[in-house]
Subunit: 239 residues, 2 copies
DNA sequence: CAAGAAAAATTTGTGTACAATATTGCGGCA
DNA sequence: TGCCGCAATATTGTACACAAATTTTTCTTG
């Protein structure tokens, strides 16, 4: 985390980030979504404040905002941690997405314009590039943003905002429970979505989205692992 | 707003509210939902801080949390205001609910237990009582909580959290756009929902919820009124 | 030497002070 | 008289300081 990051973004989905709180929030969110901060990581206020060159006040505000999206969890008098969704939570997140996103895809197909479609195409390119470069975390992040761009295309600001949080949590879920780097699957699914949207075929877009989400959920391994703390306790008791 | 309020609640849906920030948030939320603070009202930090006996720090945190749910809007260097959803926003809120709540009702039917059903029944009683007493705002608030209780019954914590914000905004939408005090409609619809849940009839619960939400949306008058600021501008230009 | 308790250190929670900015009221000027 | 610019006021944004709580370390004791 340096003071200034001018990495190449596939598009202007995260433009200037005007307020300091938003800047810190964006940076933390990106670090989490690109898996540079693993689930469960402690987020010390002073440390972040020092790193970002702001006071704890704004860091606290950013952490609160992130906690509201379920990306970090705040434990009173203990601090902020990157969320580590339980298998139950993971299922719920994808269930919620399965309820919202097919309708979003349908609406996006209606409002698809050339510029937005170009953005989506560039996004797929960027995902592909990240995978080629072996930057798995970055690829997951970009994959999430792909869905968010579709949500923005749908012009449903309210639902898009809800999906923002759900998609962010999905990145954490993938970090914890992905069975294996489902690379080609992703790429093909997003391609199919883009094709349906380009054809303005609402039925196809909805179907593609539904299938894609089902595939994502099916690609998870939600039984075995357990959260770190109970895991330790049980491991020692049985050992 | 006094320092201590021990009004009668239909159930323990809002239990102790342990932290000061949560207490302030709850109080503000209730004031908004019961329409004691109308849409557009200015929420001055110092005023709230004095009234609640806390510092601006916790008031700010509470306002931020509420803004994330769309109940208040924060304008930089201008302050916090009770949200006044645009007709477009209003539609979106109910669209989002229409996507989530039928599934929630279905799940709630599966998990319905005697205690939860009793809570719902008491809720309907309280709604009725509020309407009889002419406390319209309180009735709207209770009506919203009825839906939230169903969401909790469904055991989908993630979706329930999303619905919390949507339902709160719905109260604002009703305050702004309700065609008329749709009293009997509400009462009947909630009764039908409770009946379906009691019978553990998932199909009936889903259908009742779908119909209820459609009725609510149909009961809105989303064309004429406009938000306060554009309203003024246009009113003066046409006059 | 291990286990428990006390104390030190770290970290979060809250209040307060000051700086930045928007709004409001006043006075000068065409 | 009406309008523009400027000072006064009020409110928010941020930093900092202290209080409360937790975690870690250390010291005592069986």
């Amino acid at each position: 985390m340096e003071t200034r990051d001018a990495e190449n973004w596939p598009d202007a989905a995260a433009p200037p980030a005007t307020t300091p709180t938003d800047r810190v929030r964006e940076r933390l969110l990106r670090a989490v979504l690109e898996q540079r901060l693993p689930p469960g990581a402690k987020l010390t206020e002073d440390e972040i404040a020092g790193l970002c060159g702001v006071s704890r006040t704004v860091v606290r505000a950013a952490l609160q905002a992130l906690s509201h999206d379920g990306v970090v969890v705040l434990e009173r008098h203990r601090g902020a941690f990157v969320a580590a969704p339980s298998p139950q939570s993971a299922r719920e997140v994808f269930e919620a997405r399965a309820l919202l996103e097919p309708a979003v895809a349908r609406a996006a197909a209606r409002h698809a314009d050339a510029e937005a479609l170009a953005r989506l195409a560039r996004h797929i390119e960027a995902e592909h590039a990240a995978l080629e470069a072996g930057e798995l975390g970055r690829a997951v992040h970009l994959s999430g943003r792909f869905h968010l761009v579709i949500a923005e295309m749908s012009r449903h600001q309210t639902i898009a905002a809800l999906l923002g949080g759900l998609i962010a949590r999905s990145a954490l879920v993938l970090a914890l429970y992905a069975r294996l780097p489902d690379t080609l699957c992703e790429r093909h699914a997003h391609g199919a979505l883009l094709a349906a949207l380009t054809a303005r075929d609402a039925d196809a877009a909805e179907a593609a989205m539904r299938r894609h989400l089902a595939d994502l959920l099916a690609g998870l391994d939600l039984a075995p692992r357990a959260p770190s703390k109970p895991d330790l306790a049980r491991a020692l008791s049985t050992g």
